[in-house]
């Protein structure tokens, strides 16, 4: 049976590129090295919920139609629109997004990607503060302090810790895996270790402990990696941590600002911040200042609550300020596998990473004004194209309502919730399984996505579908001009 190696996993922003797939009769039958979500995707993508024929809504019902007809109808809707939104893009290739931007420019629409409802606020604050960051290997090689704040890699990025942070093996820093095992052993005995290992969705433990014997001796005295988790709940990631700080919901900003004051050796005029005693915070601040290389990863726990974008502003400022004392970097834990790519392509073509409004014939950007949820809440759009995303099940009800009222085109492999609301539904191939392309990892490293099996007959990749719609729109416009 053919085995395809070095496959990139199209699930989360970690973009693990060491997946091995066994193919039998054009189907994936075995997945090696992947986490639970990776396995579920590669083994389960071709399920009964797959859409296999283009559909069009007639008399309130979705009925099957030809691809040509579906593309023609989609093109008509977009060509007629006065203010269409084109949304999604984080679960497809950069190449598809690129065509999407051209399409948005052609129809004078608003093109937005899913970062608007995940790390959009992070981007807004990066635009105010900047961001000291690096690629993930830099952390693997050098970081002796890892902080996860409002992010739970155990659930959202299962192999992040193993591949890039605490349990990875670097040139100057060794894996903290053994220390973790010892700690667990001391705490709960052998049985729990097995389940802990299982929970981590790692390779076999023996492989881990012997994995990568160091070929060079680090001249730096190894001090051992530390892991700090800061969250409103004691997450599974928190259980692994050397320190856990439980912050009151919506109070992350105060905590971050308190850390900023502490690392400047300033006294706080309060005993507790965000429910945490100041003495405890002083210890954590000490650990931050005295490490050789610290890395702070943050997730939606910070972007979505309380101060929202300003949580990130404070986190970025904290890490920037820490660079006066030591080396420290910060990185958002990007969710969808190519949300970073969607931002990246959008930025190089338009100057802006998301929420780009082409209605005046050139790119304009102002999240809050040109972002999809706001456009929907104000009921401004009069047509919508959704690619590789499911906003109806991700947006607040009020925003989803206007989306469902718009003439709605959906390009997606699955019959997801948004697809069920579609007026035109065009099934697509799975990028990274049935179609090749490029994706950007959360640290902006571009990684190729492979085509490992063929899509079902007649099913095209997003990129190709979008090209055809664009060509059809140009045809319609030419006709209109001639008339």
């Amino acid at each position: 049976m053919p085995v395809v190696k070095a496959v990139t996993c199209p699930v989360c922003g970690s973009l693990c590129d060491d997946i091995e797939l066994t193919i039998e009769n054009g189907r994936i039958v075995k997945v090696k090295n992947g986490c639970a979500m990776c396995e579920a995707k590669f083994l389960g993508y071709c399920c009964e919920h797959r859409v296999l024929k283009p559909m069009i809504r007639k008399d309130g019902e979705l009925v099957k139609t030809s691809l040509k007809e579906a593309i023609r109808r989609a093109a008509e809707i977009l060509a007629e629109a006065n203010y269409p939104v084109l949304y999604g893009w984080s679960n497809t290739s950069c190449e598809a997004t690129s065509v999407g931007i051209e399409l948005a420019e052609e129809v004078g629409g608003v093109i937005d990607n899913t970062s608007v409802v995940c790390h959009g606020p992070s981007i807004l604050s990066i635009q105010d503060v900047g961001i000291p960051s690096c690629t993930l290997g830099q952390i693997r090689h050098r970081a002796d302090l890892i902080v996860y704040w409002g992010s739970n890699p155990w659930s959202a990025h299962p192999r992040h810790i193993e591949r890039y942070t605490s349990f990875s093996e670097g040139r100057f820093e060794k894996s903290a895996w053994r220390g973790y095992v010892t700690k667990i052993k001391a705490l709960v005995g052998r049985k729990k270790i097995q389940s802990a290992i299982k929970r981590l969705v790692l390779k076999k433990p023996s492989q881990i402990s012997t994995h990568l014997e160091p070929t060079f001796v680090s001249p730096i005295m190894r001090k051992g990696r530390k892991l700090i988790v800061i969250d409103v709940r004691r997450t599974k990631t928190a259980e692994m941590a050397d320190f856990f700080v439980q912050v009151e919901p919506n109070k992350d900003y105060e905590l971050l600002q308190a850390f900023r004051a502490l690392i400047r050796d300033q006294e706080l005029a309060v005993d507790k911040v965000a429910g945490v005693p100041v003495e405890y915070l002083e210890d954590v601040a000490d650990a931050m200042v005295s490490c050789d290389f610290g890395a702070l990863f943050f997730g939606l726990g910070l972007t979505m609550s309380g101060a929202k974008l300003r949580n990130i502003d404070a986190a970025l400022s904290l890490v920037r300020d820490l660079n006066m004392r030591t080396k420290f970097i910060i990185m958002p834990m990007r969710g969808h596998f190519n949300v970073t790519g969607a931002n990246t392509v959008s930025t190089w073509q338009t100057g802006y990473p998301y929420a780009v409004d082409f209605s005046l014939g050139y790119p304009r950007y102002n999240p809050g004004e040109t972002s999809v949820v706001d456009v929907l809440l104000r009921k401004e759009s009069d047509a919508a194209l959704i690619v590789a995303s499911d906003p109806v099940s991700n947006f607040p009800h009020k925003a989803a309502e206007h989306l469902a009222e718009n003439p709605l085109i959906v390009i997606d492999p699955h019959m997801n919730v948004t697809a069920q609301m579609a007026d035109v539904l065009i099934p697509s191939a799975f990028v990274g399984i049935e179609a090749a392309g490029t994706a950007y990892r959360m640290d902006h490293v571009p990684i190729p996505l492979k085509k490992v099996v063929n899509p079902p007959r007649g099913i095209l990749p997003d990129e190709e579908i979008l090209r055809r719609i664009l060509a059809e729109i140009r045809k319609i416009k030419k006709k209109q001009e001639a008339a």
Partner: protein
């Protein structure tokens, strides 16, 4: 009705690995639906309300109200904090206000929880039909 216990809480929504796995099985799959129509609660809070594991509760915010299954949180203690995975059920009650930045408030929303043994957890189709004309 007035005596019915009601708990004031902070609602968080977010990702879970079950939802992540369920999503890859397809959004109409049983796995997905079951993974997102639940509410994780602190066991002490459940005791206070008198709700048992896997029984129905009604969660309400200023923006809507939805019935989901209560589930004992493994991440306790987190008194007065409840957690619902991202999905159509959570969307009924999250705060759409973006505060001028494009992002609605998905976490940290004031909410109330009450037992709802007599009310059903709606299936996906029913939920959508109730909310949208299409589907």
């Amino acid at each position: 009705m007035g005596e019915k216990p009601k708990l004031r809480v902070t609602l968080l929504t977010g990702r879970t690995i079950e939802q992540g796995v369920g999503k890859e099985h397809g959004k109409s799959s049983k796995e997905y639906v079951e993974s997102v129509s639940v509410c994780y609660m602190d066991p002490e809070d459940m005791k206070k309300l008198g709700v048992k594991d896997k029984t129905n509760i009604q969660v309400s915010t200023a923006f809507g109200s939805v019935v989901v299954k209560a589930q004992k949180s493994l991440r306790a203690p987190h008194p007065s904090v409840i957690f619902i995975p991202y999905g159509p059920w959570a969307n009924v009650i999250v705060d759409p206000e973006t505060h001028g930045i494009g992002m609605p408030s998905f976490k940290g929303i004031p909410a109330t929880v009450e037992p709802a043994p007599e009310k059903p957890v709606l299936g996906l189709k029913e939920l959508l039909e109730l909310q949208f004309r299409k589907g």
